[in-house]
Symmetry: C2
């Protein structure tokens, strides 16, 4: 079974947390793929350059200057540092964006009915699972940055959870998908790790959203998890960056 | 025969020149590899961020902040834009640094006898020509950024001409190496394109350096060319970015 691990910006931007994640990732058996974010570094660099980050509905609007910044941060700084650190751990990592090998095609998101133009944000059209499988079969570990392309020369900014989903569902072999961050998993009380929910069904999820136990950014993450299961991913896990085999297992 | 094309920062940072280069590159038969620079963009970004560029003997000293900048610019901005633009031209490009697939190993340059510490600059130890050949055999066109790694998790800044040399000499098949820039080739008078030298031997080169006709940055470029020929590259060419089959052919 191929493991697709997605890690967010907060972990990859903390030297010690990133080291712990990469130790855990290196110990996983192959085949495996790492998908990473990096939004906080992008926001910080934008601030240093005097480029304002505009948000709409919790999502970044990617203006042209911001597209350059995320291309530098996601495709360069974060991706290549992870690759070098995995090579140091004996993992034959290959850093990729959706443009490399034409892996992930996307189109620029249309202006919403409410008139919001997200700028250079890409909604995924297709991911080349067969090509990723060839890389895995050759002993290569892809490290995927949250950038796609439109096939006409334009790079696009795409949410890392969406990239992880697209990659996991495109692979021809059985796949598990793990979202890891700085909490032990899905908690009943975000401040108390002992309230970890070890298994979560879609019915449980709906009930916990209805009573307010699950809220905020966890909701789209779990919606994505159920979508992945419906699209054929065998197992979805939400866990801590230093325990890739623990946390909450999500089932339909 | 595999063609390795090296293009410098001045061309890749000019939208129209880059488009002309990529048109010419796309038209070349396969197999082929593109190696690019990007120093001017790095210097500009450093200026915007208030990071000073220190030079010694015409070479950039790579302090820690500058290493981050070149990782962003070479590995992200320049590399991924070239990849996306080649994909739009039907070339199945894959952006790489020396860390990806452990392609190019280097060590940090020791402090010189004169006491100059170049910082995070890598001198190449080895390039994995067999792996590059596998990619070429799979119909993939590598696009290589001037970054290497030390195998212990550290990225290093390495001169793009040196990367092109290392790649061309490591490939197992016969290889030609083309350095392209914004002049038609090696000129007797840098201001007069009609003084193009169509073929240049090492003896000619020594004589033209002695009489001052060839000077400045062209000297290390030509020294590299002769080194490549001595190490088994079949043909070295110095030419314009829009005429990859013209210019000056260098022979021993």
């Amino acid at each position: 079974m191929t493991e697709v691990i997605k890690v967010g910006g907060a972990v990859v931007e903390d030297v010690e947390q990133l080291a712990a994640l990469l130790d855990a990732f290196a110990k996983l058996g192959s085949p495996k793929i790492l998908v990473h974010g990096g939004g906080r570094s992008a926001t910080r660099l934008a601030g240093q350059l005097g480029v304002e980050s505009h948000m709409a509905g919790g999502r970044r609007i990617t203006e042209e200057k911001m597209l350059k910044i995320v291309t530098m941060v996601y495709g360069g700084l974060v991706n290549k540092n992870i690759v070098a650190k995995l090579q140091a751990r004996g993992v034959n990592a290959l850093g990729l964006t959706g443009a490399d090998l034409n892996l992930i095609r996307a189109h620029r998101r249309p202006t919403t009915p409410e008139g919001i133009d997200f700028g250079f944000v890409g909604d995924v059209d297709s991911a080349d699972g067969a090509r990723l499988q060839q890389l895995l079969d050759a002993g290569i570990t892809p490290v995927v940055a949250p950038l796609t392309h439109d096939g006409r020369g334009l790079l696009l900014n795409t949410n890392a959870d969406t990239i992880a989903m697209a990659v996991a569902t495109a692979l021809p072999e059985q796949t598990s998908l793990t979202f890891c961050f700085d909490l032990p998993g899905v908690l009943r009380d975000a401040k108390d790790p002992s309230t970890l929910i070890p298994r979560l069904t879609e019915a449980d999820f709906r009930a916990l959203v209805a009573d307010g136990t699950i809220a905020g950014g966890m909701i789209p993450k779990l919606e994505n998890a159920f979508k992945a299961l419906r699209e054929g991913v065998i197992k979805v896990r939400i866990t801590s960056f230093h325990d890739l085999q623990g946390g909450t297992v999500i089932t339909l």
